[in-house]
C-alpha cells in the first residue's frame, strides 16, 4: 500500500513537470531570409521562455495552401500559422475557423494594432488573424530609362500616356513605360474604374459588380488605350519573353520596360534582379480628375492566426506577441516582409534609423491617399480572377475588340460572382473589406447561422 502511495506521488510530480513544458508548432512559408529570421526569433523566444519549445514547420510558397488545407481538414494544423488574408474566407467563413485572439488579449498586446488593422482580421466578431504588414499596388518607375528618354517620371495618367509615344520615338519600339502582366493589368483597370465609381469593384451583398456596363467598357477601353499609345507591350510581344514574373523578364532586367504597378511589400525582389546601374523610384499615384478615392486594393500582405483547437492558447499568444512586438524579432525581420503594422515595431525601426526602402515609401504614400474604399476578398477569388483573365487575354490577343470585352466583363463576371458568393442566408460570408470600411462596426452584426453556432458549442 505504501509503495502504491509512493508510486502515485511519483506519477503526480512527473505529470506536474510535464504540464510545465509546452510544445508548440508554428508554420509559415517564405524564402531563405524569412526562414532565417523566423528561426532566429524562435530560438530567442525559447531562451526567454525555457518551458516552451517551438517546432518550426516551414515550406516555400508552392504547395503551402494545399498542405495547410489538408492539415486543417485532418485536425492536425499547427498552433500558430502564417496565413494569407483571403484564406480567412476559405477556412473561417463563420469566424470560428481560427482562435479568437480577443480571448488572449491579456498576453498578446492588441493595442499595437489600430482599429482598422484589427477589423480587417475580424470575422463576425472573432479576431481571427492579425496582419504582419499592409500593402497595396503603387507605381514604381525606372528613373534611369526615363532619363534616357529625356523625361521625368510621370505624375498623372496623362503624363503616363504621353510617355508611351515619346518612348517609341526616342528610344525605339522595344521600350515601354510600364511592364504589366495580366494580373497587374487587371489591378490597374480596377483602380482606374474605382477612381470613377468610388465604390469597391465587387459588391458582396448584391453578389455582383458595382460597375455598370459603361464602367466595364471603360476598363476594357483603358487596356486598349494602354496598348495603342505604346504604354505597355501588346500581349503577343510580352508573351514572346515567356510567361515569367517581372523579376525574371528580360526587358525589365535590362530597363526596356521601365515601370511597375506592384505591391509595396514585394517590390524589393523586382529591384534585386535589375542590371546594375539602374534606379527605381516611387511615382505619385495617378488620380483621374474628380476622383474621390485612389482605388487602391489595400489589404494585409500576410497575417498570423492561431489554431482554433490549440491546447496552449496562452503560450501560442506569447509566441505571436514575440514575433510581432519583441525588439529582437522586429530587428531580425526588419522590412523583410514589408513595413510592419505593429506600432511598437514601426517606432523601433524608425528610432534605429532603418534605411527607407521603396516599399516603406510606398506605404507612406498610401497613408496620404484617399483609400477608404477597400475591396472585397472575392475580387481575388481564383474563379473571378480566371474569368477576368479569359476576357483580357481574348482582347489582348485580338480575338475580341474592346467593346465586346467590356460587355463580357459585365455579363460573365456577374455570372461568376453570383456562383462563387454564397447567399448570406445559407452561409454567412465574412466581409473583411466591408468591415474595414465601417471600422469593424459591422463585424458580429450578422446573425451566426444555427449550424455554425452548434459547431462552436461542440468545440467548447
Amino acid at each position: 500500500m505504501r509503495y502504491l502511495f509512493l508510486l502515485c506521488c511519483c506519477l503526480a510530480t512527473s505529470a506536474f513537470a510535464q504540464q510545465q513544458d509546452v510544445q508548440l508548432r508554428m508554420s509559415w512559408w517564405g524564402g531563405n531570409d524569412v526562414h532565417r529570421a523566423y528561426l532566429a526569433s524562435i530560438r530567442r523566444f525559447e531562451e526567454k521562455y525555457p518551458h516552451i519549445k517551438v517546432k518550426a514547420e516551414y515550406t516555400g510558397w508552392v504547395g503551402h495552401l494545399e498542405r495547410l488545407t489538408t492539415q486543417i481538414a485532418g485536425g492536425t494544423a499547427p498552433d500558430v500559422m502564417q496565413v494569407n488574408w483571403n484564406w480567412l474566407v476559405l477556412f473561417s467563413a463563420d469566424g470560428r475557423g481560427f482562435y479568437d485572439l480577443n480571448r488572449v488579449g491579456d498576453v498578446l498586446d492588441l493595442t499595437q494594432f489600430d482599429a482598422d488593422a484589427r477589423a480587417i482580421g475580424t470575422v463576425h466578431g472573432h479576431l481571427n488573424a492579425l496582419p504582419v504588414t499592409m500593402t497595396a499596388r503603387v507605381f514604381y518607375f525606372n528613373a534611369t530609362t526615363f532619363a534616357k528618354a529625356g523625361l521625368e517620371v510621370p505624375t498623372s495618367w496623362d503624363e503616363l500616356f504621353a510617355a508611351g509615344k515619346i518612348f517609341r520615338e526616342r528610344l525605339g519600339p522595344d521600350y515601354y513605360p510600364l511592364a504589366l502582366n495580366f494580373l497587374d493589368l487587371l489591378a490597374l483597370c480596377r483602380s482606374w474604374v474605382v477612381q470613377k465609381t468610388g465604390e469597391p469593384l465587387v459588391n458582396e451583398s448584391a453578389r455582383r459588380l458595382n460597375a455598370d456596363p459603361e464602367d466595364t467598357a471603360d476598363m476594357a477601353a483603358l487596356y486598349a488605350r494602354l496598348v495603342r499609345e505604346h504604354v505597355i507591350a501588346p500581349a503577343p510581344e510580352r508573351a514572346s519573353y515567356g510567361n515569367v514574373p517581372e523579376q525574371e523578364l528580360r526587358p525589365w532586367i535590362t530597363g526596356k520596360y521601365a515601370g511597375l504597378y506592384y505591391w509595396t511589400s514585394a517590390v524589393g525582389k523586382l529591384v534585386e534582379t535589375l542590371e546594375p546601374g539602374q534606379r527605381i523610384v516611387l511615382a505619385p499615384y495617378f488620380m483621374r480628375p474628380g476622383a474621390r478615392d485612389a482605388g487602391l486594393n489595400y489589404r494585409p500582405g500576410m497575417m498570423i492566426a492561431m489554431n482554433a483547437k490549440t491546447e496552449h492558447p496562452r503560450e501560442a499568444a506569447l509566441l505571436i506577441d514575440f514575433i510581432f512586438n519583441d525588439p529582437y524579432a522586429v530587428q531580425t525581420f526588419g522590412l523583410l516582409r514589408g513595413l510592419p503594422v505593429s506600432k511598437s515595431a514601426v517606432a523601433l525601426l524608425k528610432a534605429q534609423g532603418t534605411p527607407r526602402t521603396l516599399g516603406w515609401e510606398g506605404n507612406e504614400q498610401i497613408e496620404l491617399l484617399p483609400h477608404q474604399t477597400g475591396e472585397s476578398g472575392y475580387f481575388e477569388h481564383p474563379r473571378v480572377r480566371d474569368a477576368f483573365f479569359d476576357i483580357l487575354e481574348a482582347q489582348g490577343f485580338g480575338q475580341i475588340d474592346a467593346a465586346e470585352s467590356g460587355r463580357r466583363m459585365y455579363t460573365d463576371i456577374n455570372r461568376v460572382l453570383e456562383r462563387v458568393i454564397r447567399k448570406p442566408v445559407d452561409n454567412a460570408i465574412p466581409a473583411p473589406a466591408a468591415s474595414l470600411r465601417s471600422g469593424g462596426k459591422a463585424a458580429g452584426a450578422h446573425a451566426v447561422p444555427a449550424q455554425a453556432a452548434q459547431r462552436g458549442m461542440n468545440d467548447g
Binding site: N32, V34, L39, K55, Y58, W61, T70, Q71, A266, L274
Partner: protein
C-alpha cells in the same frame, strides 16, 4: 565517298538535335556556377564569372540542416519504396498472368481502373487514415502503400511482359518439383529481369520527383526529402537565389543519372541473355 557524306550528315543531324535536347540540362549546370543576377541575362550556358557560391550556400541551406540531410532522407524513402514496389508488383502480376482465379477479369479491370484514378482524390481520406494509424510525420505513409501493389501501371507492365513468354519452362519446373514461389524465383524472375529493372527505375525517378505526398505527410523540416528542400527557398515576395537552387538540383540529379546509366547496361544485358536462352 558518298557513304562518308551520308554518315557525317546523319551524325551531324543527330548531334545537333541531341545538343538541343540536352541544352536545358547544360544550362542548369552552367547556371549553378553563375552569380544570381547573371542568370536571366543571357541564354548562353557558359558562366562569364564562374563562382562556387551557389554550391557553398545552397549546401548550407537557410535551414538548420545541410543539404546532405535532405539527400539522406530521400534515400530513406526511396530505397524501401522501390524494394516493396518490385516485390509486390511481381507477386501480383505473377498471380494474374499464370493463375486462374475466379473473378479474375473483374479484378484486373479494377486494377486498371486505379491507374485512371487521380491521386488527389485519395489525398484527404488517406491523410485521415494515416492520422488514425499515428503515421503522420513519419516516412511510413510514403512507402508502405506501395507494398500492396498499388501502382497498377507496374503490375500491368509486368503482366504484359510475362504474357510474351510461353509457360512451358514453368511447367517443366513444376514437374521437377518446384512450388509456385520457387517457379517464380528460379524461372520467372530471371526471364522478366528487364521488366523488373524498368519498374525499379521508373519508381526511383518518380519518387525522387514526388512533391505532393512528402509535402502533405511530413511536417518536420528535418524529414524533408530533396523535392521539398529545393522549393524551400522559393517565395513570392522575395527574390529567389536561383543559382543555389540550380546547384542543388544538379547535385540531386546525379543519383538518377548514375543509376540510369548503370541500369541501362543490365537492361540491355537482360534482354540479350533472355533471347539466347529463350
Amino acid at each position: 565517298m558518298k557513304g562518308h557524306l551520308n554518315t557525317s550528315l546523319r551524325y551531324g543531324v543527330l548531334i545537333g538535335v541531341g545538343f538541343l535536347m540536352l541544352y536545358p540540362l547544360l544550362w542548369m549546370a552552367g547556371g549553378a556556377f553563375r552569380p544570381n543576377h547573371e542568370i536571366f541575362n543571357s541564354i548562353g550556358f557558359i558562366p562569364q564569372h564562374p563562382t562556387l557560391e551557389g554550391f557553398a550556400k545552397g549546401w548550407q541551406t537557410s535551414t538548420e540542416y545541410t543539404f546532405a540531410r535532405y539527400l539522406l532522407n530521400t534515400f530513406a524513402i526511396i530505397v524501401p519504396k522501390v524494394i516493396v514496389t518490385v516485390v509486390s508488383s511481381v507477386l501480383v502480376a505473377f498471380g494474374f498472368a499464370r493463375f486462374n482465379v475466379p473473378g479474375q477479369r473483374v479484378l484486373f479491370g479494377l486494377l486498371i481502373a486505379t491507374i485512371l484514378l487521380p491521386k488527389s482524390v485519395l489525398l484527404v481520406p488517406q491523410y485521415l487514415m494515416f492520422r488514425e494509424f499515428g503515421w503522420l510525420d513519419t516516412f511510413l505513409p510514403l512507402y508502405v502503400p506501395s507494398a500492396f501493389a498499388t501502382e497498377g501501371f507496374f503490375v500491368f507492365m509486368i503482366i504484359q511482359f510475362m504474357r510474351s513468354f510461353p509457360a512451358d519452362m514453368e511447367e517443366a519446373a513444376v514437374m521437377d518439383g518446384c512450388n509456385s514461389l520457387q517457379v517464380l524465383w528460379h524461372v520467372v524472375v530471371p526471364v522478366i529481369l528487364p521488366a523488373i529493372i524498368s519498374v525499379a527505375l521508373f519508381q526511383f525517378m518518380w519518387s525522387m520527383n514526388d512533391f505532393l505526398s512528402p509535402l502533405i505527410y511530413l511536417s518536420s523540416v528535418e524529414k524533408y526529402p530533396v523535392a521539398l528542400a529545393l522549393k524551400l527557398s522559393i517565395d513570392v515576395t522575395e527574390a529567389t537565389s536561383w543559382n543555389q537552387i540550380l546547384a542543388m538540383s544538379t547535385i540531386a540529379l546525379a543519383p538518377s543519372l548514375i543509376l540510369f546509366f548503370a541500369a541501362q547496361k543490365y537492361f540491355v544485358e537482360g534482354i540479350t541473355v533472355g533471347s539466347v536462352k529463350g
